[in-house]
Point group: C2
Chain length 197, copies 2
Amino acid sequence: MRILLVGAGGHVGGVARDAFEGRGHEVLAVSRTTDPAVNTSDPASIRALLEAVGIVDAIVVAAGSVPFKPVTELTREDYMSGFVSKTLGQLEFVVQGLDHVADGGSITVTTGVLARESVPTAAAAAMANGAVESFVLAAAPELPRGIRINAVSPNVLANSPHYHDAFAGMTPVTDSEVAMAFIRAVEGNVNGRVLAV
Amino acid sequence: MRILLVGAGGHVGGVARDAFEGRGHEVLAVSRTTDPAVNTSDPASIRALLEAVGIVDAIVVAAGSVPFKPVTELTREDYMSGFVSKTLGQLEFVVQGLDHVADGGSITVTTGVLARESVPTAAAAAMANGAVESFVLAAAPELPRGIRINAVSPNVLANSPHYHDAFAGMTPVTDSEVAMAFIRAVEGNVNGRVLAV
């Protein structure tokens, strides 16, 4: 398959890239610093990327960032920032991306355990991830031309050094488990699912 | 208790009002057309309301609207509109509202079954509701002074004429079931819960 992978510069994006390339797929891996580059908070940037890329069999997005602060310090601007980056930044690949996905293809977005489990300072992240996960289940039955949509929703990453203190007592997910979820989302027949790993 | 009820003009808000008044609470019921009025999409309007109201034992919000369209027709502006109205419009009562809730009080927001079940044209509604539900579970452990937060999340309303066709095969919820959930959220000790009815 020909796969557009957005967010290739992050740990999860890198895992997905290796997984897809290992399965023999053609991966168009983009980030803020590739050529073409993309800023997923800017719909015009996404439009330019999609026009440059043309038609793909799958779009996989592992991008977006959210402010982490205690809920008593989170501002309206923080929630808006997280929504624009993590939620709209991924949904835009449905709004604009559908026309660039081949019949029977797929869109895969990335969320995380914060949509369903609390950890300190993660209220905005929970909000942004929960928005994407509920969207996926609602959008799936309405997508045209047999196109599927799913979310890969990892726990804290075993092989990334970040955030482990905040996720005390939660079982980290290995790169291979994350990779399997992306492979299933793209090669399998699941639709409207949150693939929690 | 002294309860600020926002969204008193809607069906769910009316059910909550009757329930709280029936339990002997003092209900400050506001909507877009009361005095004081509130437009929950406008943080300055919420600020003015809270300053007029002072300190309450509970804030209950049953406000916010979201565009309903097939996912192939939903635009970035539609998602933003639903987020500002239904998600931020309720979260703002945490951002600003915490300082107006007495020690040991509570904040209750309103979501709906669309966060977890798909019906046609509801992808933006799912997104906005899912955002609020994940926020609630993440925010609850971080609220100060023993303040609790919960979401009441009803199915389609048995006693409201709207939307029944879209919810074919889903069991409508009666007013009394909705009322019980609001009473539990305000008078009970639940925290960080989505009270699905």
